[in-house]
Symmetry: C2
Subunit: 643 residues, 2 copies
């Protein structure tokens, strides 16, 4: 498209463009809107600037004439002959802040809008945000406020134009794209913001199919979470098989439990059916842990039992190139309206009826976090850590290859589960970005997300791992933040952040330096330190040496032994602090093991997290903590990573 | 200063300013340099814009006349009467990239230059760098290249102006400030960069004393590091006193050792002198560990022994408000040309003659890092960690209250120490910033710095700790980076970064997900992963199941037991990778303790760092590592923090 055609298209869709005049190369009509830019407009010349085909900041007729002649000469010098099909376009120069707006077709999220600082600074500062093509006004505002340039809106150089101007512009872009249906990519740069509002000065358009999904994903008739009977297919008496662990873990289910093993027999004092068909009643949920080639046969048998939900533990599908079997399972799920999680997963846990259908070695504790994960190993590490921290789950879903039930549908289903208060997601790659965003939009429960695949190399690793494309991290993060997700930067935060984010942190230390560093990290994480009041200080004065710090961090001085730690903790347990970090450094008199015992005792009545800064000389203390299952850290940075 | 006076001053110092014309309010002379900005220039009106006293983008006489009349009317409306002492200034509008340059008087570094992106975006992007007023060309270029806007120089919109234009400008600023001697602060914003070069469009100047130090700090005649005899003043036979630990640690010194204790007697089969005066020979270095009130007396006695160097371990000075004693010690040091470190410090270690004059509980290993620290506790934690990692030191200096010998002088002295290859500094606050920069500039050895006090709250903590002001972190970091320092973001990196930064990292894992995360962190840290070649893959194929990842990260699949780990490590020990991270997650079949033993054995021939992702189920493995003093990590983020 030529420049004047784009201007016309934009104008007819309600966008402001500069005043302009198009004329043939032999014309030189009067112009009444100086200053102007003069450009050649010819299908023969794509990169105008490189051919000397652009002149800017022309303020009068003399300059206009000069520019006109120079451009003609420049192009002649390149051996290009201009004729009656070639034009000039003179456009009014507009001064102000340069902004950018683009539309792209993302492989994961479909058509999305990019908006931010424009001009040559677009590439330098990458100060842009991402907006879904169907985003509502609140999301648009959220997204814009993630950019730094947004601070200019509202008080921009005495102009009356504020964020509404920009929001209105984005909405107009949404309408434009939806209406035109044939715009694949759009690149508006720069758009000038000044007291007149927003004017699109330069634009490129790439035609093609716009992808705006009408329908999201398959509606679910049955809840995955509501089950009264479970069958473990592949239950085993061999402790080296996952079928053994799953069978054992399901015993505590408050519903009917059936074991199936082709050899029959008995397991945990229960009968093993030789075939699932032998079970007389219907089955709500089945856990399949048989070799991959036997999985489809088992599913077909389960259909006869009115099966609603299936968890396929078995590996050996997409991740090893076996796409055909996956495709078949997917079709069965759709045809018979079955919810399937897996294959190649760790299993499923639901707290209300205590259904633990995982092969994790540790029992999950009931709690209020629903944890959804694409990696069984990350999940199992987090379950282990949660056990240490005494953090509980309402639901755990290990998605494995995620052939059927996905994040979006699970988020939807969790809305009706009273036991779930928070949703934490470990994502490697998602497929239907639009549905994912829609489910998050609709969620009444706070959502925390960790996403891998930030770097290109990690993307490769993720691909060989789950076979899903990881997509662009910046887009993923930007879009999710615009719909209100808390993006976390380490996996531990998925279990720690929902509940443990403390408001008032106290630091007790036997050394000033590390406490200063810890304070830095805490402030970096936007958390606050408890402020000691006069009464607090008075109480501490009684048990601490004169030269204690008199503020938080409470520096109880390097010669502190366990009795001083004990006296301090006894006093501060009454303070209104949610969390106490205790820094122990090995100094000359430090009785680390005794201090560890004091901390462990005090942790019965207050949330205390020791930070043991040192190796060899604190070894016994650390071994003590490990034995007592008390969580501690060995570095200041790590200790604050979940805040 | 009025605008035209500033323009004159800048022009006379070789800076380009726009064409301008100043005239009284009743004049309206012809102007031959459109487009223009027209501004009122009157001592009665400070904030011109707010009074409607500025009009921009005027392109012809008609606009000029209109602007003139409107400004007069606007000001009249505010009830201000203009008279013959009030002027207009018409200046040529200049279009291009807006830059910023400022000069400030920093409490730590004195007069410094700020440079970066200007205009309204200065505050938004804070894309600025910091340059010492005496910085040389290389430093200026280093600093400028730390900004993102620097990418525009050289290829800026077909202009021939490159970074030299900007460097020349900064040099001119340096000259201008040095010459004028009465400029305290300067604020040039915007400076316009276009094909004409740099033009200062707007400027504010604050007069006052410019602080450019002539002389740096006191020259040292004696090296702190060259000692043939040591006296421990306050050597004690009571194991609960630091004087005991220091006496014990000094025994291994390859020079003469004297113990002094007012009660006399014997210690470690050596005579204790009752008084330092009783020692017959001269003493090179004395370690003082007596109560604070006795310190000055001991120093006075040491003067009679031709003492060159003193380490004051004793606390009870500035940190508890005792400034007078510190002042006295400082004066003595100057008068008798003594180097003093401390007071309130952990001590001093030098590897060549094996002088360990610290009260650290662990022996330091000889190596090539000189570690200088302002916090004894941080130092002791790092020494402990270094011992675990088998990392050695050439020198360790604990500065405590730093009343005499400082970072700058120590860096200078280390230049002549062949044993020192790297210098690592833990800084809380420094006093003479100019000298510090100068020493770094002169250093032939790479310098690593961790600086606390990033946040205001942390600054408060640091103040109550060592009594030094922490200063502005951004300035500190910017200036240090401009002179080539490696700023690190965690204290562990001070000991790990100099030597252990690996070029080729291998990841062996029993789970794909965590390996993906680890890859992200490694790439974030700008490190590289080893790339497996065909031969490597072929070798691994022989011992691994079919579905192993076939690339790095080497995913040996979730059912891997210790024998598979062993076979893998046996093969990769020949690969040209500097470091192998082994991720162990608790999966169903994972025999964690056996795997730990395999890793420990393999670590004898290859640098292996296990990452144990999980709590309870990996407990025994972790206890094993602790007992064997093998370094491992429990989180992916932490494991990469030193890279």
């Amino acid at each position: 498209m030529l420049e004047h055609e784009i201007y016309q298209l934009l104008e007819s869709n309600g966008f402001r463009v500069p005043k302009y005049k198009q004329f043939t190369i032999n014309d030189m009509p009067d112009i009444d809107f100086y200053p102007i830019a003069l450009k050649i407009e010819s299908p023969k010349i794509v990169h105008k600037s490189e051919y000397g085909g652009v002149k800017t900041d022309i303020i009068d007729y003399i300059g206009y004439k000069k520019a006109h002649d120079e451009i003609v000469q420049n192009i002649k010098n390149y051996g290009i002959d201009l004729d009656k099909n070639d034009y000039f376009i003179a456009s009014n120069m507009i001064y102000g802040e340069e902004l950018f707006c683009g539309v792209i077709d993302d492989s994961v999220f479909g058509t999305i809008i990019l908006f931010g600082k424009g001009g040559v600074l677009l590439e330098l500062y990458k100060d842009i945000c991402y907006i879904d093509i169907v985003a509502n006004e609140a999301e648009i505002i959220n997204a814009i406020n993630l950019t730094r340039i947004s601070k200019l809106f509202g008080e921009f150089r005495n102009s009356k134009h504020n964020i509404e101007t920009v929001v209105g512009f984005i909405k107009k872009i949404q309408e434009f794209i939806k209406k035109s249906k044939n715009i694949k990519e759009l690149d508006l740069n720069p758009i000038i913001l000044n007291s007149e509002g927003l004017t699109i000065v330069d634009a490129r358009i790439k035609l093609g199919e716009t992808k705006i999904p009408d329908e999201v994903s398959r509606k679910r008739e049955n809840s995955f979470f509501d089950n009264s009977s479970v069958a473990v297919i592949g239950a085993s008496s061999d402790p080296n098989k996952v079928g053994y662990a799953i069978a054992k873990n399901t015993l505590s289910f408050m519903g009917e439990v059936f074991f199936v093993n082709k050899n029959g027999g008995e397991l945990f004092e229960k009968k093993c059916f030789k075939d699932v068909a032998d079970i007389e009643s219907n089955i709500d949920i089945a856990i399949i842990a048989v070799p991959s080639m036997a999985v489809i046969g088992e599913i077909q048998k389960l259909i006869g039992k009115n099966i609603k939900n299936i968890v396929i533990i078995s590996a050996g599908f997409k991740e090893v190139g076996n796409f055909i079997a996956e495709r078949k399972i997917k079709d069965l799920a759709k045809l018979y309206n079955i919810n399937i999680i897996g294959p190649n997963c760790l299993g499923y846990y639901e707290s209300t009826k205590n259904l633990n259908a995982t092969f994790a070695t540790k029992n999950a504790i009931a709690g209020d976090i629903a944890l959804l994960a694409q990696s069984g190993a990350v999940l199992s590490a987090l379950m282990d850590k949660a056990y240490d921290f005494n953090i509980g789950f309402s639901h755990i879903v290990s998605f494995g290859n995620m052939i059927d039930l996905n994040f979006a549908q699970t988020i939807d289903a969790l809305q009706n589960e009273p036991s779930c208060k928070y949703i934490s997601i470990y994502a490697e790659g998602i497929q239907d970005g639009k549905a994912f965003l829609q489910s998050i939009r609709n969620s009444k429960k706070p959502i925390f997300v960790y996403k891998t695949g930030k770097s290109e190399l990690a993307k490769k690793a993720a691909f060989s791992h789950t076979g899903n494309l990881s997509g662009n991290y910046a887009i993923f993060k930007g879009l999710l933040e615009s719909v209100g997700v808390n993006m976390v930067d380490n996996i531990e935060a998925l279990i720690l952040a929902p509940q443990k984010r403390p408001n008032n942190i106290l630091i007790v230390t036997n050394a000033g330096g590390p406490a200063t560093i810890l304070t830095d990290y805490i402030i970096d994480r936007k958390q606050s330190l408890y402020v000691l009041n006069e009464a607090n200080i008075k109480l501490l004065d009684e048990v601490l040496p004169n030269n204690w710090s008199k503020n938080n961090p409470i520096d109880i001085i390097g010669d502190a032994r366990s009795n001083r730690f004990e006296a301090t903790l006894e006093i501060i347990k009454e303070f209104e602090a949610d969390l106490v970090f205790v820094i122990v450094t090995p100094q000359f008199m430090t009785d680390a093991l005794s201090i560890a015992k004091v901390l462990h005792k005090a942790s019965q009545t207050k949330l205390i997290i020791p930070i043991m800064l040192g190796g060899e000389s604190l070894k016994d203390a650390k071994i003590f903590f490990k034995k007592e299952k008390m969580v501690y850290f060995e570095s200041l940075q790590e200790a604050t990573s979940f805040l």
